[in-house]
């Protein structure tokens, strides 16, 4: 993880995003978002469907550009960066976990975890294999590491995705409904795994979820409504790992 003084992983200032700019169908879906994520935070992003959560996550992850506003990642402004520089910054500082299609089916679990390092270096080496194997061990999939990703269950695939998101040792992991596709039990264990990685590595997490029960297990809950942040508060009674039976809504 990169070192920086102010311990701020992410800073958003007045982020606006509109689709179909210049057409009659132009619609603004983010209306000036301000947000700060501190190092080591474990935050949930909730809100109704269409409120702009995925759009915001893609902008933070440098997959999409805002029409207005400023974005700083580990203190670095992304305003004037070219595509290749954005790719490098994304590779080194941001890990992604999506809801579906997280893995390349042509590769084994271990290879999927290696991919970001492979893309960075340009060719495989033993070091990246060891790092990936260690992460596979941490997510509890060592017996499955040589299996193609299609052989894995949904929960196992998400565990591989978590390992891959962490392989570059990023400052920030962005997860867009990472458990949306899983049964409750798998969802809980995947969630627990992210929490554990957050605790042991100090990696900042921003997790979009529709599941209030899981949101309650985050340190902070940010709620979006219609392209604005409607509420943003510390979650004072965070449920602990393993408290699977309690349901708060």
């Amino acid at each position: 993880m990169a070192e920086y003084d102010d311990a701020i992983t992410l800073r958003l200032e007045g982020i606006r995003k509109a689709y179909g700019v210049g057409t009659p169908a132009e619609t603004e879906v983010l209306h000036g978002i301000d947000l700060i994520l501190k190092r080591g935070e474990f935050a949930a992003l909730i809100g109704p469907s269409g409120s702009g959560k995925s759009t915001l996550l893609n902008i933070i992850g440098l997959l999409d550009q805002p029409n207005q506003g400023k974005l700083f990642i580990t203190g670095q402004s992304t305003e004037l960066l070219k595509d290749i520089e954005l790719t490098r910054l994304r590779a080194s500082e941001i890990g992604f976990i999506f809801q579906f299609h997280n893995l390349l089916p042509a590769f084994t679990a271990l290879e999927n975890v290696m991919l970001p390092r492979l893309a960075e270096l340009g060719h495989p080496n033993e070091e990246m294999r060891l790092i990936a194997a260690e992460l596979i061990e941490k997510v509890g999939l060592t017996p499955w590491k040589e299996h193609k990703s299609n052989d894995l269950s949904g929960g196992q695939q998400q565990r591989v995705a978590i390992a891959r998101a962490l392989v570059m040792n990023p400052a920030l992991v962005l997860a867009d409904e990472p458990t949306g596709n899983l049964d409750t039990k798998s969802a809980d264990s995947v969630f627990d795994l992210m929490r554990e990685m957050n605790k042991t590595n100090g990696t900042t997490f921003l997790i979009v979820t529709h599941d209030p029960r899981l949101a309650q297990r985050c340190d902070r809950i940010i709620e979006m409504v219609d392209g604005n942040i409607a509420s943003d508060k510390e979650n004072l009674n965070v449920l602990k790992i393993g408290d699977n039976n309690t349901h708060i809504s």
Binding site: R88, F98, L104, P105, E120, H123, P124
Partner: protein
């Protein structure tokens, strides 16, 4: 994952293996095209070199003759144009047998030119062979064996005796020998229009594989021909070979410009043959072009489909640190590999067809109908060409893949 292979190679080959059926089909398609090219090219170049050999076996590449004695029209050209009704009678003068002025000097001058490999003086003219009641019209050629035998393949065509004629010898074709009922060691009398007569001994019989040549051509020693044709000390032509037969026409023009003599190359005298060759080469080029185009379209369409199918995976690669350039290279590489693999399989298939063809196309006596020219460079060119075509064909789909908006691709 082999550490020797770069990231793009690893992803490209995995993608190709994943779309196994598509990959195999397109490689099969490219291979079929390449095999057609290999087969046809080998066939045509074999055919051409056979025809060359057959032509140049009994013909010098360049023949130098004395300047023509020009018959002049009585009136000027302008006059002719103005009065079209009035035809101007111009009768070509009969060309009598003449020697090249100072042919030894010309020969020495030619031998100094680079590219010229052989210069052989020749005296030739018409005559008859006579034996008892029989006589036949022949074309008599007087040669210096030490030079002339390096010029054409006469030596290889000798079926009895030797091609090294001395002043009392004569070489005849197999048909003439049959017609006259003579064989090795027999005597034949030769008479020319200018009145020369000599009785010579048959010291060799040749077979050019051409009935006309075997009936008409007769070779004697240079000096014998000079006296028979009443051309003492002279040479009616100088015959020349050069290092590259295809440059003969250019060199012939140079010689003409330098000496003022009449110079003919085998290319000019076989103009029809050469235009047929050019047509053949042209049709071969057209075939190559269309096969290449078909292969390119096939590869491009397979990759366009693959980019659509894999758009989520491409988005995922982009989200996890793969650059646009890397995505571009992953797809270009797939096109190049499809072309390369197609060309390797196709070269083997083409080679197989050629072997099969060689087994089928045979002369009555079991010898191959013609030698197939088997240039291994053709395989190299096919591989390079197909790889290039594959890369170019992949350009459009690869650019599409590289320009994919990862946010849209992942959202699907």
């Amino acid at each position: 994952m082999n550490p020797l292979f770069p990231f793009e190679w690893i992803v490209a080959t995995r993608f190709m293996r994943e779309g196994r059926m598509q990959t195999l089909l397109i490689i099969g398609g490219v291979a079929l095209g390449v095999s057609v090219i290999v087969f046809i090219s080998a066939l045509i170049s074999g055919l051409q070199s056979n025809l060359f050999r057959r032509t140049l076996d009994f013909q010098a590449q360049i023949v130098i003759l004395p300047p023509e004695e020009i018959a002049r029209p009585l009136r000027g050209l302008n006059y002719q144009k103005a009065n079209k009704q009035e035809s101007v009678l111009v009768q070509a003068r009969a060309q009598r047998l003449r020697s090249i002025d100072q042919w030894q000097k010309v020969r020495d001058q030619l031998l100094l030119m680079k590219n010229v490999t052989v210069v052989a003086p020749v005296v030739s003219g018409a005559g008859f062979v006579i034996r008892a009641d029989a006589n036949r019209a022949i074309t008599l050629t007087g040669i210096e064996p030490e030079n002339y035998l390096r010029l054409i393949a006469l030596k290889d065509k000798i079926i009895a005796g030797s091609a090294n004629v001395t002043s009392s010898d004569i070489l005849v074709g197999i048909e003439l020998a049959k017609d006259m009922g003579v064989s090795m060691g027999d005597k034949l009398t030769l008479r020319t229009a200018s009145g020369g007569t000599a009785t010579l001994m048959i010291s060799g019989i040749f077979d050019f594989g051409n009935k006309g040549q075997n009936q008409r051509a007769v070779y004697v020693a240079f000096r014998t021909a000079q006296s028979l044709l009443n051309l003492a000390g002279g040479a009616s032509s100088l015959e020349v070979n050069v290092a590259d037969p295809f440059s003969a026409e250019n060199i012939a023009q140079d010689i003409q410009a330098q000496t003022g003599l009449k110079v003919e190359s085998w290319i000019a005298t076989n103009a029809q043959f050469f235009s047929a060759l050019a047509a053949q080469s042209m049709s071969n080029t057209i075939i190559r072009f269309f096969v290449g185009l078909t292969a390119a379209l096939g590869i491009a369409s397979v990759l366009v489909v693959s980019v659509v199918q894999k758009s989520k995976e491409i988005g995922l690669l982009r989200a996890t640190g793969t650059s646009r350039q890397q995505v571009l290279r992953i797809f270009l590489l797939q096109g190049a590999l499809m072309g390369l693999m197609g060309s390797i399989v196709g070269s083997l298939m083409g080679w197989g067809f050629l072997m099969l063809w060689r087994g089928i196309a045979k002369n009555a006596d079991g010898t191959p109908l013609f030698v197939i020219n088997f240039d291994p460079m053709l395989f190299l060119y096919a591989a390079l060409g197909a790889t290039l075509v594959g890369t170019l064909a992949a350009m459009f789909p690869a650019l599409r893949a590289a320009r994919l908006d990862p946010a849209v691709a992942i959202r699907g």
